[in-house]
């Protein structure tokens, strides 16, 4: 019974010291891994905050001449990233419209079919998809959409590439969330004479809404910063473009363009900061939803 007596005072002190040491090491390591993020944020804010005025959101990116003139006169580079913001909203929005229904249906299917060859195959494909490099998805969208459908670079092609990228996280989070819901809820609905499909859409989906929505938002935040697949699909555009069959800009594409132009390179910071903020907000939103919509069984 009396274990503490059998351990000498010395050993006890050593254990307490060990415990403390361990938590200090853990905390330092955690801090070190957070360092890069903090320093990125610091850099972006330091170098980018000057750019961020109202114009930055409502004007399109300047051309290299305008930027050069401003630089020569020691003025702030004019223009903004409105074409990129609008492009990102359209491309990501459309990608979500494609991926969310598909991903939900696929996730529901997997959660309802735990066994079986077909479900196994789907699961395997989803896992593989998760590992496909984004540039390859760009190539696929190029072959599927750019050439045959829009006969040229287009926002639509970009959306298709990004939607494929979103699918695995939506499918997986839907499947996992639905599997966590106690089967008694499903039984309760079915025992009330509620048909199967209604049970899924009216009971299971609303109950799992918090987990599913979180998965969707995280999926969106993952694709919002993608650049490579957009280079092969949406290409970029110096004007705001609302036609999805035409080339379109996006914030990450602008960052890339700014990087390649010595006159525009200072705009990188502001554009990156906005991109990062969007992704931060999406993640915060996901957290808030997970907390607010959480249901208690």
């Amino acid at each position: 019974m009396n274990i503490s007596n059998s351990i000498s005072q010395q050993k006890l002190k050593w254990r307490i010291f060990n415990d403390r040491l361990f938590s200090i090491v853990m905390m330092s390591l955690a801090f070190i891994s957070a360092l890069p993020l903090l320093s990125i944020l610091y850099q972006l804010i330091k170098k980018g905050y000057k750019q961020i005025r109202l114009n930055f959101f409502i004007e399109v990116a300047p051309d290299t001449m305008e930027a050069m003139m401003a630089k020569v006169n020691h003025e702030i580079i004019p223009g903004g990233i409105a074409n990129g913001i609008v492009g990102t909203l359209i491309i990501v929005g459309m990608a979500s419209l494609i991926a969310i229904p598909l991903g939900l249906i696929c996730g529901i299917y997997l959660s309802e079919t735990s066994k079986g060859k077909m479900a196994g195959l789907v699961r395997f494909v989803v896992d593989m998809l998760q590992g496909v490099p984004s540039i390859v998805l760009g190539v696929i969208a190029y072959i599927w959409i750019v050439k045959p459908v829009t006969s040229g670079f287009s926002a639509l092609a970009g959306s298709v590439a990004l939607s494929i990228m979103m699918l695995p996280s939506i499918i997986r989070s839907t499947e996992e969330t639905l599997k966590m819901i106690p089967s008694t809820l499903k039984e309760a609905a079915l025992s009330l004479g509620v048909p199967y499909h209604r049970t899924i859409f009216k009971v299971l989906l609303p109950t799992g809404m918090s987990g599913i929505a979180t998965g969707i938002i995280l999926g969106i935040s993952r694709i919002a910063g993608e650049t490579a697949p957009l280079m092969l699909t949406a290409l970029g555009s110096s004007a705001i473009n609302l036609d999805i069959t035409q080339p379109s800009s996006a914030i990450p594409l602008l960052v890339w363009e700014f990087y390649n132009d010595p006159n525009l390179i200072d705009l990188i910071w502001g554009a990156s900061l906005i991109l990062l903020l969007i992704i931060f907000l999406l993640n915060l939103g996901a957290k808030a939803i997970a907390k607010k919509w959480k249901v208690q069984y």
Partner: protein
């Protein structure tokens, strides 16, 4: 007294049409040729409480679920024999229609966690997409909650989530939910096993009241419960219906020695 008059009337009704459910040589398998219940035959009496007892794994839930075809959720199930409800073969009725006539209450209270107390009561209507007028909804909610003795406790918090209630209240809410559709039969699978003694006593009182309007089949692992509230009892063992009869008779003079052994506490 008023209650004696009611009882006499009840008895007349029971004499006219006493068997509401007829189970005939029913065997149910979850797959392959192993049957979890084997050739069970019994006539369930209308407006009575029938208790199903037996050690764990003997097939009580399987029998209960076969009555509203909930066992079919497992895709490999198959059955032999038949069940009729008021003379109609339940395996010829669409299971969705059938379940509206035979409601079910589960072991753990399972109100829909996204719904308010109010919506939980009329969940059958909401989920089936049946539009009701506001006044109709109010009436069903009040009637059902009164039936389960939950109205006074919840009438001021109807908009709150059902999961906000205590376990016993949740279980009564689930009974109210099953009653909202006015089923003929209510199946309850160990409805009090997750509840404390006080909540259990309330549910038991409630079931006794409810049998006036409904036929009740109750799976219970609690012999005392069966003795207290049931009119008829079944004792099952290893998938077989060993004994079925008036509860009083079965508890005083069991016919089968396995029933006797169970009642004396010799099985788990």
């Amino acid at each position: 007294m008023e209650s004696t008059i009611l009882n006499k009337e009840d008895e007349k009704i029971i004499q006219i049409e006493s068997t509401i459910l007829n189970i005939d040589e029913l065997s149910v398998s979850y797959g392959g040729d192993k049957y979890s219940i084997d050739k069970v035959s019994a006539g369930i009496q209308k407006n009575k409480i029938t208790a199903i007892m037996g050690p764990s794994g003997c097939g009580k839930s399987t029998l209960l679920r076969a009555i509203n075809r909930m066992h079919e959720l497992y895709p490999e199930t198959h059955h032999k024999g038949s069940i009729t409800l008021g003379g109609e073969d339940i395996y010829k009725i669409n299971p969705i229609q059938l379940r509206r006539k035979i409601g079910m209450v589960f072991q753990r209270p399972n109100p829909f966690p996204t719904m308010s107390i109010y919506d939980n009561v009329i969940a059958a209507y909401i989920l089936n997409g049946i539009k009701l007028k506001r006044s109709e909804k109010n009436e069903i909610v009040e009637r059902s909650l009164r039936e389960v003795g939950l109205w006074d406790e919840t009438k001021d918090v109807l908009h709150k989530r059902g999961t906000f209630l205590s376990g016993g209240q949740q279980q009564r809410l689930c009974i109210a939910r099953a009653l909202a559709y006015k089923p003929e039969v209510i199946l309850l699978d160990e409805p009090t096993s997750a509840l404390d003694p006080i909540a259990t006593a309330k549910i038991e009182d409630l079931l006794v009241k409810l049998k006036k309007n409904y036929t009740i089949i109750l799976v219970t692992h609690n012999m005392g419960q069966a003795a207290r509230i049931s009119d008829y009892s079944m004792f099952m063992y290893l998938g077989e219906l060993v004994e079925y009869g008036k509860t009083k008779k079965m508890f005083t003079t069991p016919k089968d020695e396995r029933t006797e052994a169970y009642l004396m506490g010799k099985f788990g």
